[in-house]
């Protein structure tokens, strides 16, 4: 089959890394944006009073970029939908939190360790759950989320359902947001860049083959099980790291912060809206949804209808724009260079 399966969201082909004018200018835009993001915390004199709020939104946005981007590795590139991916979020959060409580090391430093712990956990789980395809795997991710949530709810050492209080970060009230913002920026960039590298690697090619047609991939000699487990485990890293920073930023850990289905839903939705299986997709999706959420909360207040809106948006996107923003734009030939990272 020479024609690429158009309606297949995971079928975006890997482009050779040749420079075109649009991709070069795209690169510039990305670099400029990243620099702006990096300089934002220092722009207090410009922004003035709402500065902390801006940093908070920025941090949240960057966090979701990291979460969605990581999810995309297993859910988009490999086509294995994980509906409980935030299990790693919580594990990372608790890991760094507990390290802080017992060893006094700041999560701002230990978040890579939290990420690693999440990876190991993902690896062990993946060994079991990636023995199946499709529906059974998806079901196992939901079960895993609820199971781990239940365990943490009853684990006295980790504070059970009441959770644990963490010591306050040693920064002035005025500047406290800044290190968290930078940590999340690093994590977001790390996550997206990691996705970019995977997309342009043989590993990524193998994953896409699995997403297209796993049986054919196996027949072609790809060790699908190893690839899937690798994708699943690696996708846990930045999620765990993000959880570590987030938990610390709240200064308390509680299962209900991390292990709810709503968070899993958001991660999935962001990738789908943005464009599953593309590198830029989750970023676009995360930014859009965080912005949308801010607007809707400020207008309508935070209530149960938010989750209805999430569901409705997901439904509409699934039925009419299954390729997401980036995928649909690309298909119609209107994808701007700065979003073309595949």
């Amino acid at each position: 089959m020479t024609k690429v399966d158009k309606a297949d969201p995971a079928a975006t082909p890997t482009r050779p890394m040749t420079e075109t004018t649009s991709s070069r200018s795209g690169r510039v835009v990305v670099i400029v944006l990243t620099l702006l993001l990096a300089l934002l915390p220092l722009a207090r004199p410009l922004i003035g009073q709402p500065h902390n709020y801006v940093l908070q939104i920025g941090m949240v946005g960057l966090m979701w970029v990291a979460l969605a981007s990581s999810w995309n590795l297993i859910g988009g590139f490999t086509g294995y939908i994980s509906l409980g991916h935030n299990v790693f979020y919580g594990i990372g959060g608790y890991a760094s939190g507990l390290i802080l409580l017992y060893f006094g090391l700041s999560p701002l430093l230990t978040f890579p360790i939290a990420g690693l712990i999440a990876v190991v956990f993902g690896f062990l789980v993946g060994l079991i759950t990636l023995r199946t395809r499709g529906p059974a795997f998806i079901i196992s991710t939901i079960a895993l989320l609820l199971m781990v949530g239940l365990l943490f709810d009853n684990w006295e050492f980790a504070g059970g359902s009441n959770g644990l209080s963490l010591p306050l970060p040693p920064f002035s009230l005025e500047n406290v947001k800044i290190p968290f913002y930078y940590a999340m920026l690093v994590i977001a960039i790390g996550s997206v860049y990691f996705g970019y590298r995977v997309a342009h690697s043989k590993f990524g090619l193998a994953l896409r083959a699995i997403a297209q047609d796993e049986i054919k991939a196996e027949v072609a000699g790809i060790d699908t099980r190893r690839m899937k487990i690798a994708a699943f485990s690696l996708s846990a890293f930045w999620v765990g790291a993000a959880g570590a920073i987030w938990g610390y930023s709240l200064t308390y850990l509680r299962p209900s912060i991390f292990f709810t289905i709503a968070i899993a839903a958001e991660m999935v939705l962001m990738s789908i809206i943005g464009g599953r299986g593309t590198v830029a997709g989750p970023v676009v999706g995360a930014v859009l949804l965080v912005a949308l959420n801010e607007v809707s909360v400020s207008q309508f207040g935070s209530n149960e209808l938010n989750i209805v809106v999430t569901g409705v948006i997901m439904l509409i996107v699934l039925m009419f724009f299954p390729m997401g923003v980036v995928g649909t734009l690309r298909e119609r030939g209107h994808l701007p260079g700065f979003l073309d990272w595949d």
Binding site: A7, R131, I139, L315
Partner: protein, 292 residues
């Protein structure tokens, strides 16, 4: 010894109800390869319906079956028609059904939350707190009646599937969709009908669990995770597997609950899921590695 029998009986009684809940889910997967993540939320929605019939006109939850089953049957026909034919041709159909029903579940949960708030509800007919005493055994009336009703409904389902022309068509579609088409079965109609039946079973389940388990909008995640674990154990698409899985796991959960406390009872299902994935991924009665 009596204690063990006691626990086992309690487990079996609940198992009957779980089997009813899981059967609708299995039917949908078997006939249409739909993984319906919204099944739990529709069960809860039916519980709400039963609740309002109870607190309003004072209807016994068993009486509410007369309303919940037809209402959800029709709702099922509607939901199927609205969403599923459109994605039938999709190359990633399996995933699409998961994501679509996931979105549906979020929407329905949100609506239930919005209209009915997060307060725990349950219907409380008199038998909910009564029990039969047979020798040393304590048999709660509520569980017994619910279990008997579940059995009757499952029996009716069995009768439908094995003794009616349409039932044969449903089973044929479950076994080989293409074959069904070429012998003249209108698989679109059968799919719609099966979805309706599955929803009707969800509606019935909702009525029954309204007095067995206090519920609130978010509880459906626990249910769907349990039910899905159960049908993976039994083998996706196998009704026999769903029923066996339900009875077996419910008894196991009863023992877990007895030994370690009721909070751990859901863990039985999750643990069983991971165990079966480890040793026999296709489940007890499932077919060999089906591409998702």
């Amino acid at each position: 010894m009596t204690h063990i029998i006691q626990v086992a009986i309690l487990g079996l009684l609940l198992g009957g109800v779980y089997a009813l809940m899981a059967s609708g889910l299995t039917l949908m997967f078997g006939v249409m390869r739909i993984v319906n993540l919204a099944h739990g939320v529709f069960i809860i929605a039916a519980s709400y319906l039963a609740f309002f019939l109870f607190t309003g006109p004072g209807w016994d939850p068993f009486l509410s079956l007369v309303v919940t089953m037809p209402v959800f049957f029709l709702l099922g026909l509607l939901v199927y028609r609205m969403f599923f034919p459109r994605i039938e041709e999709s190359p990633r159909f399996g995933e699409m059904t998961v994501l679509l029903t996931f979105a549906l579940a979020l929407i329905v949960e949100g609506l239930l939350s919005y209209f009915f708030t997060g307060t725990f509800r349950s219907t409380s007919p008199s038998y909910a707190t009564e029990a039969f005493l047979i020798g040393d055994l304590f048999i709660p009336k509520a569980q017994l009646y619910a279990s008997i009703t579940s059995l009757i409904l499952l029996f009716a389902l069995w009768g439908f599937l094995y003794f009616t022309r349409t039932g044969y068509a449903v089973r044929a579609t479950m076994q080989n969709r293409t074959a069904a088409q070429i012998v003249g079965v209108n698989v679109r109609r059968i799919s719609t009908l099966s979805f309706g039946i599955g929803m009707a079973l969800a509606g019935a389940s909702g009525s029954l669990i309204s007095f067995l388990f206090p519920f609130f909008p978010n509880s459906h995640w626990r249910w769907i995770a349990i039910l899905l674990s159960l049908i993976v154990l039994g083998g996706l698409g196998s009704l026999k597997g769903a029923i066996v899985g339900a009875l077996f796991l419910a008894v196991a959960a009863a023992f877990v609950s007895d030994q370690f406390g009721p909070t751990w009872s859901p863990m039985t299902f999750f643990g069983a899921l991971f165990l079966i994935l480890l040793i026999r991924p296709r489940g007890l009665f499932g077919e060999k590695a089906r591409v998702g």
